[in-house]
Assembly symmetry: C2
Homo-oligomer: 125 residues x 2
DNA sequence: TTAATATGCAGCCATATTGTTGCAATAGGA
DNA sequence: TCCTATTGCAACAATATGGCTGCATATTAA
């Protein structure tokens, strides 16, 4: 089987840094990988700080369901909560979103480099 | 409960477009939301086209497990496969990655706009 | 033809995820 | 104080996910 040229690891090219960035990055993407959570992020990035009850009115699920989604987002570091009175207000923390965006930019750059190498190889004299 | 001022929907501000972009966008993020799949993407964006057997050597799971991960990525449109001989070579399709990146950029922009509005409100005479 | 390689497909199992209901607890306002 | 609004917590069911084994199928090479 395969053997031979390998495919990476001890291969002939280096992987981009995010390949080994552990689970933190994957958790950010996974947190964004749900339609309801994506909508919650949209609300939070457009508005400011909202309570769970307020956010619930924007979805078709129960308050407790929204709470679970917010917990997923919070564990990924995408949102934060602040207690004020008897309410718990949620707001976006854009740092992790920026990290995810930089990763996707890195993928695009690597891809461009790979294309350029291929082009140079094909056009070699 | 809550009632009152709403929080969006029929609220006083407009949501960014990605809020209602259906499940396609969420599927892209979900596809990237796994450490193994993130590594596969890293390999593919750095290299070119690899067979399942080759990709398996880069992971700690079985070939069938890798196949399932590739299917998740394929259903999100992140990777494509090409049959050549008895092999099935996989390669990145950067279009969906670019779409995800644009979404994260939009979140960042919305956030900046919201901050600017807040600043203007606080500093109002 | 025969053997070896590469993949496909089905089924199984353990665990995680998503959403619910029900009840308790905390905090504000009349 | 008493009522109400907001949230927290626990248990539960249904489904999805991630990983495996086992076997079948195709394709290349000798």
């Amino acid at each position: 089987m395969s053997n031979s040229n390998s495919s990476n690891g001890q291969a002939g090219f280096t992987l981009p840094a995010f390949a080994e960035s552990g689970d933190a990055l994957a958790r950010i993407f996974a947190a964004l990988g749900d339609p309801i959570r994506l909508k919650l992020v949209a609300i939070l990035c457009a508005g400011g700080a909202f309570s769970i009850t307020q956010l619930t009115t924007s979805t078709d699920i129960t308050r407790q369901g929204v709470t679970k989604h917010l917990q997923v987002l919070a564990e990924a570091g995408v949102v934060r909560d602040v207690k004020v009175g008897r309410e718990r207000l949620w707001q976006l923390d854009p740092a992790q979103v920026a990290l995810a965006r930089q990763t996707l930019e890195a993928i695009g750059r690597e891809w461009d480099v790979a294309l350029a190498k291929l082009k140079a190889f094909v056009e070699a004299p």
